[in-house]
C-alpha cells in the first residue's frame, strides 16, 4: 500500500515517460530526413538512372549554385515573400484598426474578411486562375473591359504578380486575424489618456496602437515567412512555374528536380539551401516566442 506510492513525488521519471512519445517521434521526423537530405546532397543519385551513383563531393552544390535557374528561383522567392509580406502586414494593420471600430454588422463583416485564410490553397488558386484572372471569362477581365482597359492575360504576362496577388489574398486575413486579436488587448484607458493629452486618431495610431502591435507584427512577419518561403500549391495549380522560370520559386525548383527529373542529389542540395534559409528566420521567431514563455 505504501510502497506503491514511492517515487510519486519524484517528477523526473514521470516527465520522461509522458514526453517520450512526442519527443522521440519529432526527433525521428526531424533528424532522419535531415540527415538523409544532407547525405544525398553529397551523392550522385538519380532515380531514373541507377548507373549514376557514388560520392559527388560538392558537385551537386557547384552545379546548383552555378545554375542560373537557382538564382532566378531565389530571386522569385525573395520577391514573392517580400511583396506578400509588405501587402499583408501593412494591409493587415490598417484593416485591424478599421475592423476594431464600432460599425453596423461588424461581427459578420469580420467573418467575411477572414474567410480566405480557411480556404485550401488549391481551391484559392483555382478560383483566381479560372474565375477571377481568366483573360476571357474572368471577372477582372470583365471589369477591365467595363472601364475601357485592355484585359490582362495575368498568368502569361504577369505570372509572379498574379501569384503575389493570390497569396496575399490568402494571407492578408491571417495578418488581420492576429493583429485584430492583438489590438483588442490594447488598454482602453491608455487610448483615453492619450485622447485627454490631445492626441488625434493618427497620433493615437502612430504612438499608441503601432507600438502595442509591435510584437504581434513581428510574429506575423516571421510565421508568414516560414510558410511563404515554401509556397508550392498555388504555383503548382496555376502557372506550373512558368512561363519559363518566371514564377518558379525555390520550393517549386526543388520539386521539379526531385519528382520530375528524379535527381535526388540535386534536389537534396536545394533542400539544404531551403533549410538554411528557413533557419535564419526561425532563429528570430524562436527568440521572440521564447521571450514570451515563462515556464
Amino acid at each position: 500500500m505504501r510502497d506503491r506510492a514511492s517515487g510519486r513525488t519524484v517528477g523526473g521519471m514521470r516527465t520522461f515517460f509522458l514526453q517520450a512519445p512526442a519527443v522521440s517521434m519529432l526527433l525521428l521526423w526531424m533528424l532522419v530526413p535531415l540527415g538523409m537530405t544532407l547525405w544525398f546532397s553529397f551523392q550522385r543519385y538519380n532515380l531514373l538512372n541507377p548507373m549514376i551513383s557514388g560520392f559527388a563531393g560538392v558537385d551537386n552544390y557547384t552545379y546548383l549554385l552555378t545554375d542560373p535557374a537557382l538564382w532566378t528561383a531565389m530571386g522569385n522567392t525573395l520577391l514573392l515573400v517580400g511583396w506578400v509580406l509588405a501587402i499583408t502586414v501593412v494591409g493587415g494593420t490598417l484593416l485591424a484598426v478599421l475592423f476594431q471600430q464600432e460599425f453596423f454588422g461588424r461581427g459578420i463583416a469580420r467573418l467575411l474578411v477572414i474567410a480566405p485564410f480557411f480556404v485550401m490553397p488549391t481551391v484559392s488558386a483555382l478560383i483566381w486562375k479560372n474565375m477571377m484572372m481568366h483573360p476571357v471569362n474572368g471577372v477582372l477581365a470583365w471589369l477591365f473591359n467595363l472601364f475601357g482597359f485592355q484585359a490582362v492575360d495575368w498568368f502569361s504576362s504577369l505570372p509572379l504578380t498574379s501569384i503575389v496577388i493570390i497569396v496575399s489574398w490568402e494571407w492578408l486575413p491571417f495578418a488581420l486575424l492576429i493583429l485584430l486579436t492583438a489590438i483588442q488587448s490594447l488598454d482602453d484607458d491608455q487610448v483615453e489618456a492619450a485622447r485627454m493629452d490631445g492626441a488625434g486618431p493618427i497620433a493615437i495610431f502612430w504612438f499608441i496602437t503601432l507600438p502595442h502591435l509591435k510584437r504581434a507584427i513581428s510574429v506575423v512577419i516571421m510565421i508568414e515567412m516560414i510558410f511563404l518561403l515554401t509556397i508550392f500549391a498555388e504555383i503548382f495549380v496555376t502557372t506550373s512555374g512558368g512561363p519559363g522560370l518566371a514564377s518558379t520559386n525555390l520550393a517549386y525548383l526543388i520539386y521539379i528536380r526531385a519528382l520530375l527529373d528524379f535527381d535526388v542529389g540535386g534536389a537534396s542540395a536545394g533542400g539544404v539551401i531551403a533549410i538554411v534559409l528557413a533557419n535564419i528566420v526561425a532563429i528570430f521567431l524562436v527568440r521572440t516566442v521564447a521571450k514570451n514563455l515563462e515556464t
Binding site: 512526442a22 488549391t122 488558386a125 483555382l126 470583365w142 510584437r215 534536389a267 526561425a282
Partner: protein, 273 residues
C-alpha cells in the same frame, strides 16, 4: 450625436466594402457552383440566373469525389486524434511537472515546425516508397500528425497552463493517480481548449497541399489533390469545380469561424492571445 452617427455610417460603408471585396472570390465560387457550365463562363458574368444543382449532382455522382472526401476526413481526423493522444501527456507534464529542460523542449518542438517540407521532400519520399507508404492513408496520416504535433503540444500547453495547479494537487491529495488526474480533472476542465486545438489540427490537415500533392496519386488522395486535378483540361468545367470546391471548403470555413479566437493562440504559439 449626429456627427458620431455619420462617422459610424462611413466606417460601416468602408469596412463592408472591403469585407465584400475580400470575400468576393469565395462568393463568386459559391455562386458559380449553382450555375450551368454555360452560364459559368458567360461574358459578361451573370449575377442573376436560375440556380441549378446540376454541378453538385454531377460531382456527387462521380464515385471518386466521395472517395476523396472520405480520404480527407480520415486523414485529418485520424492525424488529429493521434496527435492529441501523444500531445496530451507531453503537454500535461510540461505544464504541471516543469523541469529546467521544459522550456528548451518546447522551443525545440517549435523549431521542428520551421523545417521547410521541400527540404526533406526527397528523404520522406524515398522512405515512404521503401515502406510502401506512398499513396497510402496511413502514410499521409502519419505525416500530418507529425506536422501538427508541435502546434498541438503548444496549444494544449497554453491551455493547461491556465488550469490552477492547486486543483490537480487537491486531486492528488484525494488519491488520484496520473491517469485519473488527466481523465477526471484535466480533460473535463480543458475540454473547450482541447476541442479547439483538435479543430485547428483538422483545419491544417484538411488544407495541407504540399505533402498531399507529392505523396499521393489516387488511392489516398484527399480533396486538395482532387481540386488540383481541375487545373488540367478538366478545369474547363467551372460549375462542377465550384460545386466541388464549395463542398470542400464549407466545413473548414465554418470550423475556422467558430474557433478563430483560439486559433490565433495556436498559430502564434501563444505569443498573441
Amino acid at each position: 450625436m449626429n456627427q458620431t452617427l455619420s462617422k459610424k455610417l462611413i466606417l460601416t460603408l468602408l469596412a463592408w466594402f472591403i469585407a465584400l471585396v475580400v470575400f468576393f472570390p469565395i462568393f463568386w465560387m459559391i455562386l458559380t457552383g449553382f450555375k450551368t457550365e454555360g452560364e459559368a463562363v458567360a461574358t459578361p458574368p451573370s449575377l442573376f440566373f436560375d440556380p441549378t444543382l446540376v454541378g453538385y449532382h454531377e460531382v456527387m455522382a462521380r464515385a471518386d469525389y466521395v472517395k476523396f472526401a472520405i480520404n480527407s476526413v480520415i486523414v485529418s481526423v485520424g492525424s488529429t486524434l493521434l496527435a492529441l493522444l501523444v500531445a496530451v501527456p507531453a503537454a500535461y507534464s510540461m505544464a504541471f511537472l516543469p523541469t529546467p529542460r521544459t522550456r528548451g523542449t518546447l522551443l525545440w518542438m517549435l523549431s521542428t515546425k520551421m523545417l521547410p517540407p521541400v527540404g526533406v521532400l526527397m528523404p520522406i519520399y524515398l522512405i515512404f516508397r521503401d515502406l510502401g507508404l506512398l499513396d497510402s492513408l496511413t502514410g499521409l496520416t502519419i505525416v500530418y500528425m507529425l506536422m501538427n504535433l508541435p502546434i498541438v503540444v503548444w496549444m494544449l500547453y497554453t491551455f493547461f497552463k491556465d488550469v490552477p495547479k492547486d486543483i490537480l494537487e487537491a486531486g492528488r491529495m484525494d488519491g488520484a493517480g496520473t491517469l485519473q488526474e488527466v481523465l477526471y480533472l484535466l480533460v473535463p476542465l480543458t475540454l473547450p481548449g482541447i476541442a479547439s486545438t483538435g479543430l485547428l489540427s483538422v483545419i491544417l490537415s484538411w488544407n495541407e497541399a504540399f505533402w498531399s500533392l507529392n505523396l499521393t496519386t489516387s488511392d489516398a488522395a484527399p480533396l486538395t489533390a482532387f481540386i488540383a486535378s481541375f487545373s488540367s483540361p478538366e478545369g474547363l468545367f467551372w460549375a462542377k469545380l465550384s460545386a466541388a470546391s464549395t463542398m470542400a471548403i464549407a466545413p473548414i470555413l465554418i470550423l475556422g469561424w467558430m474557433t478563430q479566437k483560439q486559433m490565433v493562440r495556436g498559430l502564434t504559439f501563444g505569443a498573441v492571445k
